[in-house]
């Protein structure tokens, strides 16, 4: 849909822009900054602040004929109205003449600034926004040098109003632009902010309990054009001009949001550089200028005092700190010794939070010792997403009319909030969303079709959909109802189609069958191998896709069997014991265990040698997002103590063991990756740093809309395409589900909540009031049968252990199901039937 161009003149510069473009944006395109406060290119214009006033001249027309009027010189007569007009609410018109910097317009804007300052406390010297404040900047540029308003007549208002635990409001600084209110309503659909009262008493309030209940609340502090909204994490923490900045990638989920880490040397940290705040970095293909609050606030793990800083070796049963040389010798000897024994071989377990570079050298190292690598994860299908993942050029921001998205077995709002947001926006642009899950989730409200299946029937549902498309005889047992036929039709006629699949209610094998069914659905409807089409896994970790791409994958049957046979185990960026306590005995026996980690995890506690690894803020590397975008992160602070990057620990040990793995830098590892990993063949670190100009323009140097999001000058990343070519649908092998017999009791299903109590979240104290507490969720009917009321203690036995915890009654939990949020203290790897009883 191309819009016709409209040509107009702005301060003498002729510009042609698409019809419907607002004057303020058209001016920006030719480098003219019209100052704004309430306007924001990501929000609907409201014209409230009146800062963007300009003179608008329209071609005069004869009233009776409608014909343009020309003067004696043959020039079209331009008629200017008596009043200035808001350029943020007025779309351009053909032949218009805009005066931005005429005396009248400048005088008008100067007056608006003076009005704004009558109420402003002028406490810039103690304001967090001071130095990067649009009001401050625009006052310097457009305002009067002095105020005629008596300071004593300023209104006194509350300056420390907690809107919630995370965001504070300074009522005196607020200029009532409603950007925060509109962001919450329009962008993230959490309408928990609003105005109350009127006139100068107009006040931002929150209507939710707890206050400002939104996973995206931090973004309001970025777009607030004054210091009215500040985060509990950063307020009074530093002045903006003291901060250094480093480009980074959020390590919390597979979206791969682009970040800027603001750091400062801190006396309280003994002169070390620390992260003062995490800010979004613009990447319109990934996260636009938004991040979720987990990404913003859960960074403290990286600077935690609990971090491991020295290598450790086991001496007489205890782990003691030693130097790197000694630790390497101990690891080398231990591995050689263990591998020399007859029993089993080496098993290398790595997690999806390691970078591509780490995982690549890890695999080379383990395989060099004839060992077996295992990805510690319980979602399958990375091979399929590698082959049939979204094609190069995929941008969820471009998904719109005629396109279809299916989300199955995932709760995106909790697992990958920015994907949730991007899909919501795709629906608003006209895409059709299908949400299939065993329970209601927050994505449902945007769905054109909701498919509700019983837990354990996800695969059957996907196969039913596949049957509706292919009519394959072998799939006839899975024939679905009419709604499934309808959805199938949508897929068949869709211009573009993307499937997001997750792991809710699935064990590894079921997730593999689901991934196959989804991949097959895409291939049979010709939705692979091109942009905006393909399969996306909602991975539990930031770089799970990268791990598959680097050649690692999980073991379908779990770790138990392989560990039983192993004589040596090498663990990187993974904590299998925390997830499955039964592994403890296997690792405790005569297995030689090496762990490289950030923290003394339950797995590390069993190790013979522990190497301290660097966190993502202290090193460089790349992550591959769920959308197959390879993105670079950079060192933001000096490394902690004696830590090393994971890949370097591995190469040091490899070389000590006689395996040639010599890389001078992470960039050199990437060159090796590019040589051997097919989809990554044109990748270099240089390619990853390319940042084309993006719209809208953001960043501190622009007076324009004055958000605090950072301009992306360090790279938008590179999307690595899937192997499948368009037009040659590859046959996907399907695994037929095994009907599971109904067992007594409730099916305990692990689910994901954004604010869990995992090791990367817990160190961020600022989030503690919002962290999920250990509990189990029951349907009220089941609870009533069990005699359990909301908040009461229940107990159950699992794997021979007894657990007691409070129950929460939730109407959206299906009957016969008990939900257990992950990483809260009780680990449930796969859905498992349990007998729940109330505790007297």
């Amino acid at each position: 849909m191309t819009k016709s161009l409209v040509t107009l003149t702005i301060d003498g510069i002729e510009v042609s822009v698409p019809e419907g473009t607002l004057i303020v944006d058209a001016a920006k395109k030719v480098g003219i900054d019209i100052p704004v406060f309430c306007y924001h290119p990501k929000l609907h214009p409201v014209g409230m602040c009146r800062m963007c006033l300009v003179e608008i001249g329209r071609p005069a027309r004869d009233r009776s004929t409608g014909e343009p009027i020309f003067d004696e010189d043959g020039q079209q007569v331009i008629h200017f109205g008596p009043n200035l007009e808001t350029s943020c609410t007025t779309p351009v018109g053909e032949g218009w003449v805009i005066r931005v910097n005429s005396e009248k317009a400048r005088e008008g804007r100067k007056q608006i600034v003076e009005y704004l300052l009558t109420s402003h406390p002028l406490d810039c010297p103690i304001c967090d926004k001071g130095g990067e404040c649009p009001l401050q900047n625009l006052t310097m540029e457009h305002g009067p040098g002095t105020s005629r308003f008596l300071f004593d007549e300023k209104i006194d208002l509350d300056k420390h109003v907690p809107l919630g635990e995370l965001i504070f409001l300074d009522r005196e600084r607020c200029i009532q632009c409603a950007r925060c209110v509109r962001f919450q309503e329009e962008v993230v659909d959490d309408p928990v902010l609003g105005f109350t009262n009127r006139g100068r008493r107009l006040e931002i309030i929150t209507s939710s309990d707890p206050g400002f209940d939104s996973y995206f609340s931090g973004n309001t502090t970025d777009i607030c054009p004054v210091g009215a909204l500040t985060t509990a994490d950063f307020r009074f923490g530093a002045r903006p001009w003291e901060l250094n900045r480093a480009a980074s990638i959020c390590p919390h989920c597979p979206v791969g949001c682009n970040l800027t880490l603001n750091t400062r040397r801190e006396a309280r940290a003994e002169g070390r550089d620390v992260i003062k705040r995490v800010m979004p970095r613009q990447n319109e293909h990934v996260n636009e200028i938004w991040i979720c609050d987990k990404g913003r606030f859960a960074h403290h793990f990286a600077s935690s005092i609990e971090r491991l800083t020295k290598p450790m070796v086991r001496v007489n049963g205890d782990l003691v700190q030693v130097g790197w040389d000694e630790a390497l010798v101990r690891a080398t000897e231990g591995l050689k010794d263990a591998l020399g024994r007859s029993k089993g071989g080496l098993v290398g377990i790595a997690g999806g939070r390691a970078s591509n570079e780490d995982l690549y050298v890890f695999r080379r190292f383990i395989e060099g010792l004839d060992g077996h690598t295992v990805l510690d994860d319980n979602l399958a299908g990375g091979d399929l997403t590698r082959e049939m993942g979204v094609g190069r050029g995929t941008d969820l921001g471009q998904i719109g009319p005629g396109d279809v998205i299916l989300v199955i077995a995932s709760d995106l709002h909790e697992e990958a909030p920015i994907w949730w947001l991007r899909l919501k926006q795709a629906v608003e642009r006209g895409a059709e969303l299908i949400v299939a899950n065993a329970r209601a989730t927050r994505l449902d409200r945007y769905a054109a079709h909701i498919i509700r299946y019983p837990y354990r029937r996800a695969v059957q549902t996907a196969l039913g959909l596949l049957h509706a498309v292919t009519k394959r005889a072998d799939l006839s047992p899975f024939v679905g109802d009419k709604s499934l036929q309808k959805v199938a039709k949508l897929f068949m006629k869709a211009e573009n189609a993307i499937i997001f699949y997750g792991r809710e209610g699935l064990d590894y094998k079921a997730s593999e069958a689901l991934a196959q069914a989804c991949a097959s659905l895409l291939t049979s409807t010709d939705h692979v191998g091109r942009a905006n089409n393909g399969l996306i896994a909602v991975w539990p970790r930031v770089n799970t896709q990268g791990a598959w791409d680097m050649g690692l994958q999980p073991i379908p049957s779990g770790l138990g069997e392989i560990l039983e046979q192993a004589s040596a185990v090498y663990v990187m960026a993974s904590d299998p014991v925390a997830d499955d306590a039964s592994l403890e005995t296997l690792l405790r026996e005569d297995t030689f265990l090496v762990v490289q980690e950030l923290f003394m995890t339950p797995t590390a506690e069993l190790a013979d040698v522990v190497f301290p690894a660097r966190s993502f803020i202290e090193r460089e590397g790349t992550y591959t997002s769920g959308e197959h975008r390879v993105q670079r992160f950079y060192p933001a602070v000096l490394p902690l103590g004696g830590t090393k990057s994971d890949w370097r620990i591995v190469t040091s040990l490899a070389n000590a063991m006689g395996i040639e793995l010599n890389f001078p830098s992470a960039a050199a590892v990437m060159l090796a990756i590019a040589e051997s990993v097919p989809n990554y063949s044109d990748l270099t670190y240089q390619a990853l740093t390319i940042a084309e100009s993006q719209w809208p323009h953001v960043g501190g140097e622009s007076l324009y809309f004055g958000g605090n999001a950072f301009k992306n000058s360090q790279g938008l990343g590179v999307q690595v395409g899937p192997a499948a070519e368009p037009g040659e649908p590859s046959e996907v092998a399907l695994t037929m589900p095994v009907e599971e017999s109904e067992e007594d009791g409730l099916l305990l299903v692990p689910i994901t909540r954004l604010y869990d109590r995992g090791t990367t979240v817990l160190p961020s104290k600022v989030l503690h009031p919002r962290l999920e507490r250990l509990h189990i969720e029951l349907n009220p009917k089941d609870a009533s049968h069990l005699g359990v009321i909301d908040g009461a203690q229940v107990e159950f036995r699992m794997n021979g252990k007894r657990f007691q915890l409070p129950a929460r009654l939730v109407a959206t939990v299906p009957e016969g199901i008990a939900l257990m949020p992950r990483s809260l203290g009780v680990s449930v790897v796969n859905p498992i039937p349990v007998q729940i009883s109330s505790v007297e």
Binding site: P45, V46, M48, N83, L84, Q111, Y115, R198, G199
Partner: protein, 418 residues
């Protein structure tokens, strides 16, 4: 005027009783419209009558209806009964004493707009009146004049009462619509205008109570008859609300174009106590005040003549100011009102009214300098033409005109305080 057109209850006792209203030709006009006219024909008659909106802007009612987005349904009619302009009390009398003529007007307007739902937005202070109106609406339902299949046609209409919460700004039609939708009452950005996207984003007609009350007589007696009243461009009768320093304040139904002098001195009995008239606020607090010169007093009160002498007719609430009143005091009162009522949505009005109020407080308290008068005027002029809606533009009118015509009053306040 012996025979009232709008304030007919003054001629006919108990006109607020449905049977009395029906006895006197009530709902004949509505019946004629529904059974014998197309909606477009009703619009054409109203256009031909020259009826202009009585809420203040004086926009031709029929033309406004003609702007309704074609083919978009449902549509709504909203009667603006948020009468809150200082010195305006005409709608209240109509609603209290002649409610059925108003409701018939709502019904005619709804038919013309092809709306099946109409709302009456009553200001919060009219809560008891709103309660009464609900009974009147019930009576109309019982009489078959509202509801399904009116006059055995397929036209149906329901009228609902919506009570505001006491904000002046909700008299502004888009703020009124936001308020009705349950939002904070703040004016919307225009366009889109209500006729395109009004209540619940559907095409909506918003008309003042008095405007709607004109409709039954227009349909009953024809556009030509209506045009014979008033002036050429300002046709029809108008209820003038006379208040202030005058012997007989109250509502006076007179033809548009009646001179100020006639209203104030003939009908209103002049200024009590033998004092002389000093100034006139012709449209409550929302227009420039006029010094009471002979030229002004002889000006016809219509939508063309009053702007020619530098003010507005607005809702025609004429507040008379006599020689004992200091204009700085008066302007302080109007400014305090606007500061209190500014919704706060746009910067110039929110901050400007606040600032002007401070300056006037200082002037009133005798703590000001002479320069503060200039500053006051500068603040007011700085707001001019920059506000989101008319409230801010109205707020500065008494200030600018007060200083322009009665600067000495301000200077006296400043000097006496020192």
């Amino acid at each position: 005027m012996a025979d009232h057109i709008l304030l007919r209850h003054r001629d006919i006792p108990d006109l607020d009783q449905l049977e009395v209203y029906l006895e006197h030709g009530g709902f004949e006009a509505f019946k004629q419209a529904v059974t014998g006219m197309t909606p477009q024909e009703v619009i054409d008659v109203v256009k031909a009558s020259g009826l202009r909106g009585r809420g203040g802007a004086g926009f031709p009612a029929g033309v406004k209806w003609g702007f309704l987005a074609p083919g978009v349904f449902p549509r709504y009619v909203v009667a603006n009964a948020d009468e809150s302009e200082p010195g305006t009390f005409k709608d209240r009398e109509i609603l209290e004493r002649n409610p059925y003529q108003f409701l018939e007007g709502v019904a005619i307007c709804s038919y013309a707009a092809q709306a099946n739902t109409a709302y009456v937005y009553c200001r919060g202070e009219f809560w008891d009146l709103a309660h009464e109106l609900e009974h009147k609406i019930d009576a109309l339902h019982e009489a078959g004049l509202l509801g399904e299949g009116i006059f055995s046609t397929d036209y149906s209409l329901k009228i609902h009462i919506h009570l505001g919460a006491g904000a002046y700004i909700c008299g502004e039609e888009t703020a009124l619509l936001d308020s009705m939708e349950g939002k904070l009452g703040q004016p919307r950005l225009r366009p889109p205008f209500p006729a395109a996207q009004g209540l619940f984003a559907k095409p909506t007609v918003v008309n003042n109570v008095e405007t709607l009350t004109n409709l039954p007589p227009i349909l009953n007696r024809g556009a030509d008859w209506y045009r014979s009243i008033g002036t050429e461009k300002s046709a029809g009768p108008k209820v003038f609300c006379l208040s202030g320093c005058v012997a007989r304040p109250g509502n006076y139904e007179l033809p548009l174009g009646t001179p100020f002098r006639q209203l104030i001195f003939e009908h209103g009995g002049g200024i009590p106590g033998g004092r002389s008239i000093k100034a006139i606020l012709p449209a409550g607090a929302s227009a420039p005040l006029l010094p009471a010169t002979d030229e002004v007093l002889d000006t016809p009160m219509d939508y063309e003549s009053v702007p020619k002498i530098g003010s507005q007719l607005g809702s025609a609430s004429i507040i008379v100011i006599d020689e004992t009143v200091n204009i700085a005091w008066l302007v302080h009162k109007t400014t305090r009102f606007f500061e209190h009522e500014s919704c706060g949505k746009c910067t110039p009005c929110r901050e400007g009214t606040y600032w002007m109020h401070h300056l006037l407080q200082r002037i009133e308290r005798g703590e000001a300098d002479l320069e503060d008068i200039d500053l006051l005027e500068a603040v007011a002029r700085g707001m001019q033409g920059k506000c989101l809606c008319a409230l801010g533009e109205f707020a500065i009118m008494p200030v600018i005109s007060g200083i322009q015509h009665f600067r000495a009053d301000f200077e006296a306040r400043v000097r006496n305080g020192r």
